[in-house]
Amino acid sequence: MSPLDRTWWHKQWRHLRLWRRFFAQAVVRETHFRAHFLTTLLVGLVQLGLGIVPTLLLFGFTSEVGGWSRAEVIALVGVFQIVTGLMATFVAPNLNRMTTYLTEGELDGVLLRPVSSQFYLTLRWINVAELTNVASGIAVLVIGLVQADLAPGVGQIVQAVVLVSSGLVLLTAVWSAMSFLAFWLQSVNPIGFVFLSLMEAGRYPLVFFPVAVRTFLTFAFPVAFATTFPVRALAGDLGWETVAVGVGFAVVAMLLVRLLWRRGLLTYSSASS
C-alpha cells in the first residue's frame, strides 16, 4: 500500500474523487466546443434511426421472431443505445488511445503518477457529448416498453440495472484485454473497429442467433448481459440467478484484466529508450 493511502478503501475513495475531477473537467471542456456537442447529438440521432431500420423492415415481414415482438426488440435497441452511449462516453476515448500510449511512450508519464495506471488509462478521458445518446436510448426504451405493454416493477428494474452495469464491466474488460494486446503487437488501432462491429450483435435478441453464436455472445463476447438479459429482466421472465451470474462474471473478468495488465506492463520497455 502506498503511503498516500492508509487503507485499501482510502485508495478506492481517492480514485473515485479523482474520477469526479476528470468528469468535471470534461464538462467544462465540452462547453468550449458547443459545435462538437451538436454534431455528436445529430449523428447519434441519425445513427439511432438507421440502426432501427433493419428491425423495422424485419418485423414488416413477420410479427414475431423467437418469441420476441417488434416492441420488445425496439426496447432492446433502446438498451443497446444506452450501453453503446455509456461506452462511448467513458471508455472509448481512452481505449482508442492505447496504441499512442504505448508507441509514443506516453505511458511513462502515467506510470510516474501516484495513481493506478490501469485506472488512469481506462477512465481518464470522458466524452460528455455522447451522453446525449444515453438520453435518446432511454427514450427509445420507454417507447418500446409502452408499446409492448410492459410495466416492470422495482425488482425488475433493479435486475435490469445490475445486469446492464455488469454487462458494461464485462464489455470494458473485453475491450481492455483486446487493447492490451498492444503490449505484444505494437499497433492495435483497428482493434476498436472489431470490438464495435461485434457489439452490433447486441442490437438483436440472443435467440436471433444460432446456438453456437449464442454461446459466444454470452461467454466470450458477453454482449448478451448488456442488452438481451436486461430486457428480459424488464419483461419479468428472468430469475435472480442470471443476475448473480452476471455480477460474478464481471468480478472475474475484472480480475483477469488486472492480471493481463500486470503481465503486459512487465513487457513494456518504453518507446524512446
Partner: protein
C-alpha cells in the same frame, strides 16, 4: 492522351511503393478485415433466423446467404476513405506543392486506394472463403464465367463511382472550412441506400422506384445482385448502363467543381 499515360505511369509507380510501405502493417489489415465481415455475418444470421421462423420475405434463403457472404468483399472493393484527407490537403495548402508537379494530387489518392485494397484482399479472401464454405449449401453460384466477369466489371465501376463522389465532396473544401460533417453524412446515407445494411430487395414496396434508381445502389448492391439475384439479361444491361451513366455524370460534375475550385484556390501559407 499524353497526360493520361503519364498519370497512369505515376499511379502505377506510387501504388507499388505504397504496397511495399503498407505491407508493414499486415497484422492491422487482418484485424481491419475481421471487423469488416462482422456486420454482414450478423445480418446474415438475423435474416436467416427470420426466414426460419416463418417470415415472408420477397427473396429466398439462397439470395440472402449469397448476398451477405459477398457483401464484405464488395463493400471493401468499392470503398473510399479519402474525402477527409483530400479536404485537409486542400485546406492546409498541401495542394500547392502538387500544382507545380507533373501529376495531379489525386494520383496519390488513387495509388493509396489501390494499394490498400490490394493488401486488404489478401486478408479478406480467406475469411470470405471460410464463411462461404460454412454456408456452401445455400449459396447461389452462377454457372459460367460470364456473370463473374460482369461482377468484376461492376465492382470496378462501383469503386470509381464512390471515389468520384468522394472527390466531389472533398472539393467543397475549396469553399468550406469543414467538410467532415458532409463526409460523415455521405457514409451514413450510403450505408443504407447502397444496400450495405439491408439488401435493397427487402426495402418496402413504396420506396422501390427511388431505391432501385438512386446512385448508391450502383456502389454496392448492384454488383452483389449480379451474382446473388436472378437479374434478367435486360435488367443486367440496364443496370450496367445506369452504373456507367452515373460514373460519367458524376465524373463530369466532379471535374467541373474541381477545376472551379482550383481557380478559386488561394494557397494557405504561401
Amino acid at each position: 492522351m499524353n497526360t493520361l499515360v503519364r498519370n497512369l505511369r505515376v499511379v502505377r509507380r506510387m501504388t507499388a511503393a505504397d504496397i511495399a510501405q503498407q505491407s508493414v502493417y499486415r497484422g492491422a489489415w487482418i484485424i481491419f478485415m475481421l471487423a469488416n465481415i462482422c456486420m454482414p455475418i450478423i445480418s446474415l444470421l438475423i435474416w436467416r433466423t427470420a426466414l426460419a421462423s416463418g417470415a415472408q420475405l420477397p427473396v429466398d434463403e439462397r439470395y440472402i446467404t449469397t448476398y451477405f457472404v459477398l457483401l464484405g468483399v464488395v463493400t471493401m472493393a468499392t470503398s473510399s476513405w479519402m474525402a477527409g484527407f483530400l479536404a485537409q490537403d486542400i485546406r492546409m495548402g498541401k495542394l500547392s506543392s502538387w500544382m507545380i508537379r507533373p501529376a495531379s494530387l489525386l494520383t496519390g489518392f488513387v495509388a493509396n486506394n489501390l494499394s490498400e485494397k490490394f493488401l486488404k484482399l489478401f486478408a479478406l479472401v480467406p475469411m470470405i472463403g471460410i464463411v462461404w464454405w460454412i454456408f456452401r449449401d445455400s449459396m447461389n453460384i452462377p454457372a459460367g464465367p460470364g456473370r463473374w466477369a460482369l461482377f468484376a466489371i461492376s465492382i470496378l465501376l462501383g469503386a470509381m463511382l464512390v471515389f468520384i463522389i468522394d472527390i466531389l465532396i472533398a472539393s467543397l473544401a475549396f469553399w468550406m472550412d469543414d467538410v467532415s460533417a458532409l463526409v460523415q453524412a455521405r457514409v451514413i446515407i450510403a450505408s443504407v441506400l447502397s444496400g450495405a445494411v439491408v439488401p435493397l430487395a427487402l426495402m418496402p414496396e413504396w420506396s422501390r422506384g427511388f431505391v432501385d434508381h438512386q446512385p448508391f445502389r450502383y456502389t454496392v448492391s448492384f454488383p452483389v445482385e449480379i451474382v446473388a439475384g436472378e437479374l434478367t439479361g435486360r435488367e443486367l444491361l440496364a443496370g450496367l448502363g445506369f452504373q456507367l451513366g452515373y460514373v460519367v455524370v458524376f465524373a463530369a460534375i466532379a471535374r467541373l467543381v474541381w477545376s472551379a475550385g482550383i481557380r478559386a484556390y488561394s494557397a494557405v501559407g504561401a
